[in-house]
């Protein structure tokens, strides 16, 4: 037994996966049905079968710099065909959460964001922060006259606060993916992770990755949950539309020097309102799809639902604050607007720690897979 391998299981890692939606992990008996029915996995060292045994054995180091858990789109074809109810799709989702925790510094933030116990703190923090800021500005009350949100929470206060949260989130994400990329290159050199060459075409890979994401083609490879294509497509493009709206608002305010509220027929309002409607439809489809597959797949973990909840509150409060403003119901419009801002701020601040962090890590993993010619 000179070449015996000593396995050093990390039991906390296993417990972490089991605690965050991967409770079925230990049922896997390695038949590899999952790797075969998956339409997005490569032929060489396919996922998710190998990830299942690594996770069962607590081989945490195998996941360092592993792009595969992020190449998984959680179609759940594997879960539906799994003969043991081991739910590889859900387990990989739980492993991704561990991966976010590992790469999005500081690590405790992911634990905080994804622990049910702390949910009041998550939203109380921005609410209290805003209350203090508004009290200091002397506008923490419902203003009289025509409803203009800026009278309550001045855009000149919103912009620095929200920009700080946004760039904090983006910054943490970029640091995370930098580390992730380094680990992937390292793992590839050590040959512990299946990849091809490391000297690929980076620029070409980035372009291919962007094309793939914009087209949403991978979602069409899912069989059981093909409906997710439309849901994710709507949510994705509504985020882009709302991002453009925000950029336009900055342009109107600081370049054109026009203060809100804007007419409903300006490009800014048109794009914003279409985005809001698309987001409302998309997020509802996501919820419906989850219940449709619940029988076999389960409805998902707290991690999944927290993000859905934040987006849901944002879109509903956003639409309602606009409607109540137009209907001139000040007593409702301002409080709803306040809630809206609390949740938008939360989305930005918790971006690298919530499920939304997938926009950093999955994009990077897809790009690395192309770069290293993983197939």
């Amino acid at each position: 037994m000179a070449d015996a391998t000593v396995i050093k299981p990390d039991l906390d890692f296993v417990k972490g996966i089991i605690a965050s939606g991967g409770e079925s992990l230990k049922k896997c008996y390695q038949c590899a049905t999952c790797s075969v029915v998956c339409n997005v996995t490569p032929d060489n060292k396919p996922f998710p079968r190998k990830e299942m045994v690594w996770a069962q054995w607590g081989l945490k180091e195998k996941f360092i710099g592993n792009p595969d858990v992020w190449l998984c789109h959680q179609c759940n074809d594997c879960t539906v065909y799994c003969p043991r109810g081991a739910k590889p799709g859900e387990v990989l989702g739980a492993i991704r959460k561990q991966s976010i925790q590992q790469y999005s510094a500081p690590g405790f933030m992911t634990r905080l964001v994804n622990n049910k116990k702390f949910v009041p703190i998550l939203f109380l923090f921005p609410a209290v922060l805003f209350a203090i800021v508004l009290s200091a500005a002397g506008t923490f009350h419902i203003p009289g006259g025509e409803i203009v949100f800026s009278k309550f929470f001045s855009v000149h206060l919103i912009d620095p606060i929200f920009a700080a949260a946004f760039f904090f989130g983006i910054g943490v994400g970029i640091l995370g993916i930098t580390k992730f990329w380094r680990d992937m290159c390292q793992a590839c050199r050590n040959d512990s992770i299946p990849s091809g060459v490391t000297t690929g075409d980076l620029k070409g890979s980035i372009i291919e990755t962007i094309k793939e994401i914009l087209s949403h083609n991978k979602f069409k490879d899912c069989v059981v949950s093909r409906d997710r294509y439309l849901a994710h497509f709507l949510v994705f493009y509504s985020f882009i539309a709302l991002g453009i709206t925000t950029a336009l608002a900055v342009f109107y305010l600081y370049i054109l020097k026009i203060e809100s509220p804007y007419s409903l027929i300006t490009p800014l309002k048109l794009i914003g309102n279409i985005g809001a409607i698309a987001l409302f439809v998309g997020i509802n489809l996501m919820v419906i799809n989850r219940f449709k597959n619940a029988g076999k797949v389960g409805i998902g973990s707290y991690f999944d639902w927290l993000l859905i909840f934040i987006i849901y509150v944002i879109v509903v409060s956003g639409i309602l604050s606009e409607l109540t403003r137009l209907a001139d119901i000040a007593g409702l419009a301002y409080p709803i607007y306040f809630i809206h801002l609390v949740f938008v701020f939360s989305l930005f601040l918790y971006l690298p720690y919530s499920k939304l962090a997938h926009l950093f890590y999955r994009t990077t993993a897809i790009c690395y897979a192309k770069y290293s010619k993983r197939q």
Partner: protein, 418 residues
Amino acid sequence: MVEEKRILVVGGGISGISAAVDAAEVGYDVTLIEKNPHLGGRVAQLNKYFPKLCPPNCGLEINFRRIKNNPRIKIYTLAEVEKISGSEGDFDVTVKLNPRYVNENCTACRACVEVCPIERPNEFNFGMDKTKAVYLPQDFAFPLRYVIDDKLCKKAECAKCVEACTYNAIDLNMKVQSLSLKVGSIVWATGWKPYDAAKIDNLGFGKYQNVITNMMLERLAAQNGPTNGKILRPSDGREVSRVAFVQCAGSRDENHLPYCSYVCCLASIKQASYIREQYPDAQVIIFYIDIRTPGRYEKVYLKAQKDEKIKFIKGKVAKIEEDPATKDLTVTAEDTLSAQKIHEKFDLVVLATGMAPTTREWKIPANVSYDVDGFITSSPEIGGMYAVGCALKPLDVYSSIQSSTAAALKAIQSLVRR
């Protein structure tokens, strides 16, 4: 002196026959009922037994002779249990006797078959050939007597067979009869059915002609089967050259049969061996999760591993695709030892389909308890009832017969224990 109670054995496969013969040969009266028109059950459909690869008909013939020579055994074919009342030592059982339309005069001369104008799929060969509406259930049928399929026969409207029969053996006016039995104990030898492979939607059975089940292969390979023992692929009748076995097709799968069917690994190794014997150039790949060859059967596995044309790949097949032009099949699995997804082409794919207990769908008309999978539990609620063979759990023939001998003793105890 009161009339001595009998033992009722329900099911005329190898388990039921064994229990009946064992009890009768120690001096107890036995009634054996079988719902098919012939005895022998699933074993009669097999080409060869493992591990010795001998034909099952010799074993069945010995038992049929023991039945014929023993006046204590009374047999009813086309018979089904309808009602049961009473308790251990004193059961009243009503049995429904379906009409055969052919009486004891039949000599199996085939004159009726020649004139019969109606064809039916032959379920003994899993629909791979046809018989006439009047047919001999199989070449080695016991009792050796024809039977008429009354779902298709036009009876008096046609009656050509009645005319053709020179022995006065056909009576198209036979009706369903009822039989009342007083028995002291009941042995349930209700057996199994191959799991319906069409329910495994990713393996293409029923969609692709050259995807067949392991039981179908037994019939293809059997001398008395639809191809007289030649293993020809269904789409074009070509002899096979590259065959895949898909283990655990439906078994060990909570979407189908959650348990291991116990015999399929050995059955596939057996089948691979006889394919190799018959076609020395043929290649066989057995795709498996774990090869399960309990006890001494390990030797069968070790022997097959030495054959360079039988390859074992650890990884379950979860996708089968057909080339519409050639009807060849591409099988996809992950070879888990090398972690490579492989796509291999075959001209025949055999699904090692598992065993579903007959009592999965059909329930005994008495308060018998079943496990979650539909097998009869080893201690049914009611005393005096004993399950044997594959009614109890998935078993090989050898272990089924052991369970039958054990149940025969218990059934006798139920008669004499006071």
